[in-house]
């Protein structure tokens, strides 16, 4: 069938030789956009029915390009060459655009990263799925409706009848992603491409979606290409893995082989630099000199106190309480980690902390001086409190030279003269590991990690005492993330800084924090010493979070039998007909919710040592056995409570 | 009485016949409504002339008087006149015309509460009914223009007293009840005025038309198109070239009547207070070119009183300072001692005809070293400025309309003791006063007005580049028996019929 050499080469790279026609058979694919150098070069991939191929690699390595090429959806200026490019036996290189259109949806389909974007916001979810069902299954009327509802329940959308009539914005992120998967499956494709399908989601939701992929594969026998930069996701889901670097596949093999004993140095580095929940110890071990400081925070003085801060927004007539009666203290010299899912109010809290925003109720104070009464001390405050943002690209004015950006705070807050400021800029650049000449360049000439270094230099320029870091590494690749985290840690020790480190990545928070606060729906549900919280979470939400973090070890896959009940976004406990305003926000997802949870907001109470929990029925016995994810696995749905 | 003169091209269609609808494209609707004694603008007068009549009427020369509501009239003395009313004249509502109606209507003109612009033109002392069919008017001093004024439907239209009783003062602005050939059927403000034949009209044969519709078409090119496409049967156009173009397409173009293009001068101050400057300006103008290009060849040399007026006299190259002589002009300017002459000329923004001439004047004066700035001002503002005496310009341009009496043209610019007057010349005022009160007949008056206007030209109190038609009536060949008149008010519409 194929030339002997390429066939031999392919089977060698694949590591596995599987029977039957492959769903996706790519040999030496090269894609170049316009005049640029090829973005994808000599890629050879193969997906068999019922197989999940994981595709990992850092940003820009060409993962999405491969996927889009398989769909024939590359922009017109892209040039594609390949020795072989078959999708379900059809040669993409020679099909007409008509055939290609037919192929899409019925043979090959795709799930994109941003589910909100992938669904038409102006169309009901059911109608969107029905459209594809009609097109590819040629069903009409009631049959079509039945098929849509069937699809929706198959991907785990609860109450499909209602959901079908809703618009995408009325669904939660997890449900939206499920709807998007239903949409992709509606044409009964044989192969499904999933491009970072869970990156935008909360870990608890992610676990459910990943389980769904496996179930689809088992039930429908489709082949899946799962693109992700998250080792855990791949480890938990994929059968085989291909690692991409600069447009080339540098390593390919079974998941165990690649993740446990990577051959190439790059893959090894990629795996090493990804922090896991267990990495905290290794990192602390690295800075033995400060170990004592890190582990004994209680005697430190309070630097910033947040007392009952509440912040509401009105947008489009809706009222969102982004931060809800939060009380916290940030102690001198510590790293306070703040975790929580997207939309839980972390960034809003950060803005309150740096006084970019003022709370509607409650107050913040620094060393006893309320923010509202800073008056003439405002300038000192600005000097003392700085912030680093998530998007390195966004935090630098694209039109200003790097030096100017770094110099800005010194000029405005410190009123330094040009010469002094110039010297300091160069000093700072050296400190964050950038050449002095960077001063004269524009931000777009730097990579993401370099930009983040510049942003850090800028934050340091006024010798602050506190730096609020709002997801400073979540836009970065794992390898770069490790470097930036190292830099942050070094700087902190050098200047005796206090950090508030915000992230939704539990592993990262664990790796850097002394104390951790967990936020849910605008409230702090649990605070305490990092070690304690990670070892012995008391709040059911914290427990769910920790349990859902995918392990990077493919041998630790969770039990696939759990997945039958893997439905999220749904109350475990019967909810009263009218939910009281005073309900615990987590009650709808809590396995332990009881009547009291629906009528009374739990407040933070000290359970043990420095650990505080806002829960009426916290998990009390300290346990080492693996915790069962309530949200996604939820085995005991009746909410049996033993005390 | 009688029909218009036989030279009218419109009468060549054989025997008049009854019936048909005439649609006219009007450039504007009656500004002041249908009240005859308020009608000043062309658009109001045009409507008023169809609904109302005076005691007398004008013949096509606009000079000869004809009987109308009065069959006979008698000048008892220079201040006393008697009129015998026609019998059986009916108003549109069916009521019969009585002496009381006439007395009421004439008194109404000078009633201060009516604000009629014509009130100051009359020297009434008493108006009384001296018999069942006879009205006597007594003046407090002789008035040459009286009969002429009484012959115009707008300055002396007779209204129905009993119908007016108890009605709002403004009722005549939107309703009409006269004795004229057409009666108002409906008034759709802003679009359409429908009129129909008045069956009870005293001149029983006429009008021939069953119906006349007036459609508002403000834009000149629109009117042109509408006439060409047959959407309307009659329009006025302002630009001579447009009239010619329509004529070339087989339309009938009425005679244009030359009315004065006035440029009033503020001689009370500024450079224009110097008579050498004024003379230089008059000499600097190339009137031939202005006529040729500015009036698109339709103009003629003229004095302040327009040639179309019965009392108007033609001007010529020999008129003082009318002959183009730029050398002399420069010399005079040098002699005047005024240097750097900068002048502002305000013209009417609505009138498309004003602009070309003003621009040409500016260009011609540039050659003698006078800088003339042209500024377009809405008519309302222009009139306000003129009347308040605060001209906001050195020169104001206006176009004459045909007046009831020649004295009005002069009074507008030169009447003694009003703010708008910028001259201070007792001699001129005396001459004007004489001309008003003389009753020596039309020839004598014409001579007097020629002398006055000559005097104005000599002193260059006003510049008259030329006189040309301010509008042309154009109608489709279907319309027969129609003749345009110098007053531009369709006085003879009742003779028209559809062929």
């Amino acid at each position: 069938m194929i030339g002997a050499t390429s066939s031999a080469e392919a089977s060698r790279r694949d590591g596995v030789t599987s029977p039957g026609t492959p769903l996706l058979d790519i040999r030496n694919l090269t894609v170049a956009y316009a005049q640029a150098a090829p973005s994808v070069q000599d890629v050879t991939l193969r997906v068999e029915p019922g197989e999940i191929l994981g595709l990992i690699g850092e940003s820009g390595s060409g993962k999405s390009t491969v996927a889009m090429a398989a769909l024939g959806l590359l922009p017109r200026d892209a040039r594609v060459t390949a020795d072989r490019f078959d999708v379900c036996g059809v040669d993409l290189l020679s099909t007409s655009s008509r055939q290609l259109t037919m192929l899409r949806g019925s043979s090959i389909a795709m799930v994109f990263q941003d589910a909100m974007g992938a669904l038409d916001p102006c169309m009901r979810v059911g109608a969107q799925i029905a459209e594809v069902v009609k097109r590819h299954q040629r069903l009409k009327g009631a049959a079509c409706r039945r098929e849509v509802l069937d699809l929706m329940s198959r991907v785990g959308l609860p109450d499909p009848e209602t959901r079908a009539r809703q618009y995408p914005h009325q669904l939660s992120g997890g449900l939206r992603q499920r709807a998007a998967i239903a949409l992709a499956l509606a044409g009964k494709p044989k192969i499904l491409l999933a491009d970072e399908p869970t990156t935008a989601l909360d870990v608890t939701v992610q676990a459910g979606i990943l389980r769904l992929f496996r179930r689809i594969r088992d039930e429908l026998g489709v082949g899946i290409v799962l693109i992700s930069h998250d080792m855990g996701v791949i480890a938990q889901t994929a059968d085989r893995v291909a690692v991409m670097l600069d447009g080339k596949v540098i390593e390919q093999g079974t998941v165990e082989n690649v993740l446990l004993s990577p051959e190439t140095p790059y893959a090894r580095k990629l795996l090493e630099s990804a922090p896991t929940l267990d990495t905290a110890k290794t990192r602390t071990g690295a800075d033995t000199s400060d170990a004592g400081v890190r582990n004994s925070p209680p005697d430190r003085a309070d630097l910033i106190t947040v007392a009952g801060a509440t912040r509401c927004f009105r947008s489009k007539g809706r009222r969102v309480t982004a931060v809800d009666e939060v009380s916290l203290t940030v102690k001198q010299g510590e790293v306070l980690g703040v975790v929580g899912e997207s939309g839980s109010g972390k960034s809003t809290l950060a803005k309150l902390l740096v006084h970019l925003d003022t709370p509607d109720e409650g107050a913040l104070a620094m060393e006893g001086i309320e923010y509202a009464k800073l008056g003439s001390r405002a300038r000192r405050f600005r000097e003392a409190v700085q912030m680093v943002f998530q998007h390195p690209a966004g935090s630098l004015n694209p039109r200003l030279k790097v030096g100017t950006s770094i110099r800005e705070p010194m000029r405005s807050v410190r009123a330094m003269n040009r010469g002094e400021a110039g010297d300091r800029v160069r000093e700072l650049l050296r400190e964050v590991g950038l050449p002095e000449s960077s001063e004269h360049r524009l931000p777009h000439e730097f990579s993401g990690g370099q930009k983040q270094r510049i942003a850090i230099a800028r934050a340091l320029s006024c010798s602050p005492r506190v730096v609020i870091l709002d997801e400073p590494t979540s836009a970065l690749d794992v390898s770069v993330q490790a470097q930036v985290l190292d830099l942050l840690d070094r700087v902190r020790r050098q200047h005796d800084l206090t950090y508030v480190f915000i992230s939704h990545n539990l592993a990262v928070v664990r790796a850097v924090s002394d104390r951790v606060a967990v936020m849910y729906a605008g409230r702090v549900v649990e605070v305490g010493d990092g070690e304690t919280i990670f070892a012995n979470p008391r709040h059911w939400y914290t427990r769910a979070l920790l349990a859902a973090v995918p392990s990077t070890d493919p041998r630790n896959r969770d039990d696939p039998t759990d997945e039958a009940a893997g439905v999220d976004g749904r109350a475990r406990t019967p909810a009263p007909v009218s939910v009281d305003a005073a309900a615990c926000a987590f009650a709808t997802r809590c396995p332990q919710a009881q009547r009291r949870c629906w009528t009374e907001v739990p407040s933070l109470t000290v359970v043990h040592g420095g650990q505080q929990v806002a829960c009426h029925f916290p998990h009390l016995e300290s346990t080492t056995e693996p915790f069962e994810d309530s949200t996604t696995a939820g085995g005991d749905r009746t909410g049996r409570v033993s005390w | 009485g009688g029909s218009p003169s036989d030279s009218n091209p419109g009468t060549e269609g054989g025997e008049p016949k009854r019936g048909g609808t005439l649609t006219i494209g009007e450039d504007s609707q009656p500004l002041s409504g249908f009240d005859p004694i308020m009608a000043q603008s062309f658009n109001s007068k045009r409507m008023v002339s169809q609904f109302y009549e005076g005691l007398l009427a004008l013949d096509t020369d606009l000079e000869t008087l004809k009987p109308a509501l009065a069959t006979e009239w008698k000048e008892v003395s220079s201040t006393e006149y008697e009129f015998t009313l026609r019998e059986g004249v009916k108003f549109h509502n069916g009521e019969t015309l009585t002496v009381e109606d006439v007395v009421f209507s004439l008194k109404r003109i000078t009633d201060p509460n009516q604000h009629s612009p014509y009130s100051s033109l009359y020297n009434f002392e008493t108006i009384e009914a001296v018999g069942p069919n006879t009205v006597k008017i007594t003046l407090d001093r002789p008035q040459a223009s009286l009969l002429h004024l009484l012959a115009q439907p707008w300055s002396a239209g007779i209204v129905d007293e009993s119908w007016m009783q108890g009605k709002d003062k403004d009722v005549l602005k939107t309703q009409a009840n006269g004795t004229g050939p057409f009666k108002l059927q409906s008034f759709q403000e802003g679009s359409l005025i429908s009129t129909v034949r008045f069956d009870g009209y005293w001149d029983s044969e006429r009008p021939y038309l069953d119906r006349v519709d007036y459609r508002l078409m403000a834009d000149e090119s629109t009117r042109q198109q509408a006439l060409s496409s047959g959407a309307v049967d009659m329009v006025q156009v302002r630009l001579p070239r447009n009239a010619t173009a329509l004529g070339d397409r087989g339309m009938k173009v009425g005679d244009g009547f030359n009315l004065t293009y006035w440029v009033g001068l503020d001689v009370s101050q500024g450079p224009l207070a110097n008579d050498k400057v004024r003379q230089a300006i008059s000499l600097g103008l190339d009137r031939k070119q202005l006529i040729e290009i500015g009036s698109q060849g339709t103009g003629e040399l003229a004095y302040t009183v327009p040639p179309a007026d019965p009392l108007g006299a033609p001007a010529s190259e020999d008129t003082p300072f009318y002959k183009h002589d730029p050398e002399r002009a420069k010399q005079l300017l040098a002699e005047s001692g005024v240097t750097n002459v900068k002048l502002k000329l305000a013209i009417q923004s609505e009138n498309q005809q004003s602009l070309p001439t003003a621009q040409l004047m500016s260009e011609q004066l540039k050659k003698i070293g006078v800088d003339l700035q042209v500024q377009q001002v809405p008519f309302a503002t222009l009139v306000s400025n003129l009347l308040s005496g605060n001209w906001q310009a050195d020169m104001i341009q206006l176009n004459a309309a045909l007046n009831a009496d020649a004295s009005q043209y002069l009074a507008l610019w030169f009447a003694k003791g009003i703010p708008s007057t910028k001259v201070d010349d007792q001699k001129l005022w005396d001459m004007m006063e004489n001309a008003i009160s003389t009753t020596d007949g039309i020839e004598a008056r014409r001579t007097m007005y020629k002398e006055i206007t000559d005097y104005i030209a000599t002193n260059v109190y006003q510049i008259v580049p030329y006189a040309s038609p301010s509008q042309f009536e154009v109608w489709s060949p279907k319309v027969q028996g129609y003749q345009a008149d110098a007053s531009g008010t369709r006085l003879f519409l009742k003779y028209a019929w559809m062929g």
Binding site: G60, V388, L400, K401, C462 | R241, I293, Q296, Q375, Q376
Partner: protein, 289 residues
Amino acid sequence: MTAVAPGRAGTASRGWWSPVLSVFRSRREAAVGVVLLVTLVVLSMTVSLWTNYSPSEVAGAPFSAPSGAHPLGTDDLGRDYLVRLLTAGQTSLGIAFFAAGIALLVGSAIGIAAGLRGGWLDSVLMAVIDLVLSFPSLLLALSAVTVFSPTKTTLVLVLALIAVPQFARVVRSRCMELREREFVLSARVSGVPDPIIAVKHLVPNVLPLMTVQFANTAAIAILVESSLSYLGLGVQPPDPSWGNMIYASQNYMTDSPWLPLGPAGVLLLASVAWGLIGEGFNSGRRSLI
């Protein structure tokens, strides 16, 4: 380790204007627009140097058709139409340029102030803008020109006034977006005062948008000026403007079609030029930020 992020090549020049210049380089449309406009401007400015006639001089018989002596014929007064057309360009382009310029300054200032500060200032400014918008623009121009007499200065100011609300709105909504951007937030955290944030951070980033809006406004200004001429209140003769030329010639459309076609043609050219410039910047916007 980390590859340099993909950026547009050749943007090594310094200063905030460099992206603007680079847009020209990468945007053929904008470049064509600029060339077109510059040609028009140069021809207009130099017209007196290379023609035999003055714009107001009677140079031939009225209404003569295009010929060797008068490439575009003559108008109702026998003036050379080409010379007038180009002279009119000075006025029309000048008025458009200044009106759009003033609108840009005022509108952007309002937009930036409202967008950056928000709160009551925003509400008040936007209420005023709404008020001006609810006054039909042509009427506003008409009444203002009537009240203040139709000098060129009045025209420029009135045309600017009409354009300000649009400007303010566009700039404001952009600034509200930018206000939440991290680099503005970091400037704030660093205690940079609002005026400096506005000048250093907002203006450069709103600049492409302002350029687009400027081009649109300039194109529209020429049109509104011609509409005012239609109502007798545009540029005052004998100064020619494209607007009053179109108006004056529409009466002669049937018999001398070259009269309306001339100014309509250059108006179209200018408008296309502005439009191309605007589009060039518009489509360049995404890649800029």
